[in-house]
């Protein structure tokens, strides 16, 4: 992302301390106050401060403070309607696209507030990619054009597009399967391949963060495993936040797991702790299947 587009000048006045399993920014700063002269924020790290989201009068996300570490996969779990999807949609400012919806608080990427006054929303969405529940390749486009579509908007030189498409498809683990039919429609691929095509499309514009909202819920177990392996490979390059109903999936892929309930962040901790010895009784009840 172009740093000029991100306003880094805003103070975190009154913002809630973010929670996070491995957050260097919060460690040693009791009360959640920022250190007087913060070190340069690590690349690709995301911080939510006092984030609230509304649909009209209904508050779906309530003052959430959370930290997504750069090389970690963070899973967001919680029952339907707990605000987990809404919360991640605030990270790339998609939430505000819904009529009557708005968000309050701060979402910081590399220390810059994505909700700052001069921020270009298009730049935000390029820096923060998203993959949805149902694979949604552009139906009229070929495999190649699906991946290249984002590049056209970023002014990528024509000669560079081929390389970028190939790189993105390779990163998404799809290149070998599609290299001989790049001109064929994206919809001709299997469900799992379509989802990896969508991941390639998101990766092509070189995002810093990848949000995945139930990326495997429409896939069979083999395609699911393929995506989960891919997540493990991609986390070296992009910060990954995955919303999932499947707790076993969270346990398999995530380094950190956050549990939400009724719009509030209940607990965030290293994944093994959440699934062996959670601190909060509500987390315990949810992960053991006693409600939700």
């Amino acid at each position: 992302m172009n740093p000029d587009k991100i306003d880094t000048s805003r103070e975190a006045a009154g913002a809630e301390a973010p929670q996070g399993g491995t957050a260097p920014a919060t460690a040693g700063s009791p009360g959640g106050e920022q250190p007087a002269s913060p070190p340069a924020p690590a690349k690709r790290q995301v911080e939510l401060r006092g984030l609230s989201a509304y649909y009209g009068d209904h508050q779906a996300v309530k003052h959430v403070g959370l930290y997504f570490a750069a090389t970690d996969v963070t899973a967001i779990i919680g029952p339907s309607g707990c605000g987990k999807s809404t919360m991640v949609r605030c990270v790339n400012r998609m939430h505000e696209e819904i009529p009557g919806a708005r968000a309050e608080g701060e979402v910081l990427l590399d220390g810059g507030d994505l909700y700052g006054p001069d921020v270009d929303v298009v730049a935000v969405r390029r820096a923060v990619g998203m993959v949805f529940q149902k694979p949604n390749p552009f139906p009229t486009m070929s495999i190649f054009d699906n991946v290249a579509s984002g590049l056209r908007f970023t002014g990528t030189a024509r000669g560079e597009v081929d390389d970028r498409v190939r790189k993105a498809l390779s990163e998404a683990g799809l290149w070998e399967e599609v290299k001989d039919r790049l001109g064929k429609p994206g919809l001709g691929l299997s469900g799992g391949q379509q989802q990896r095509l969508c991941i390639a499309r998101a990766l092509a514009v070189d995002p810093e963060v990848l949000l995945m909202d139930e990326p495997c819920s429409a896939l069979d177990p083999v395609a699911t495993l393929r995506i989960e392996e891919l997540i493990g490979e991609l986390k070296q390059r992009v910060t990954i936040v995955i919303v999932t109903h499947n707790m076993q999936q969270a346990a398999r892929v995530a380094d950190t797991t956050a549990f939400m309930l009724g719009g509030e962040l209940v607990e965030v901790a290293p994944t093994d702790k959440v699934f062996t010895n959670p601190d909060d009784e509500r987390t315990e009840q949810y992960v053991t299947g006693k409600f939700g």
């Binding site: 707790m247 076993q248 346990a251 699934f275 062996t276 010895n277 959670p278 987390t283 315990e284 992960v287 053991t288 299947g289 006693k290």
Partner: protein, 226 residues
Amino acid sequence: METRVQYQEELEQLEASALGGLDLVSAALSRTLEAIEHQDVELAQIVVADDDRIDGRYLEVHQALITLLATQSPVATDLRLISALLHVLKNVERMGDQCVNICKLIPLSGNEPPSDEEMVKLILAMGAQTKTLISQAKRAFADRDVELARDLVRQDDVVDDLNRDCFRLALEIGDDADRREWAMTMLLAARAIERIGDNSVDIGEQVSFVVTGLFQEFEDASHPSA
């Protein structure tokens, strides 16, 4: 949610079955002590044969717990409970084996062994104390009572002291070869009872794990504090 309710009930039943294994062990130990007291070879043979029941309990509950792991993906407290129950079962099975070990020794000393009354008394006292440990371990687990579980260490010290007394008695048993042989056999029995006490303390450590999520050895045999 119906299947989840069923799963919870099943887990509760399996806990009851695993802990019920301790009652089987306690009964086996009672008979073992009686066999020692009266040099009852037949009763000893019954204990050996009856160990199949303890092994059967082990296999049955162990398999059911593995099935729950495979089908219900338990996490958090449920996962810790299942892990702890697997430990409990292993200890139950070993305690049963110790009773068998003792009972296999009894015929070796013959029909009219040159026994020493004081040593038999010590071994019976060890056995009685160990039975207290077994029932206390069971209660601590069922009630998730960490304090009661920790108290097992103190109770076990009594068994250890009696075991040392046995050893001293054996040293002073005299020059008669038959008597010395009998005393050696009884020392092996005392040692087996002492191990049953240790198994009870191990079960107590699992109580602490279920409750706190952290495994703590109540006593570290390889790094004793004193």
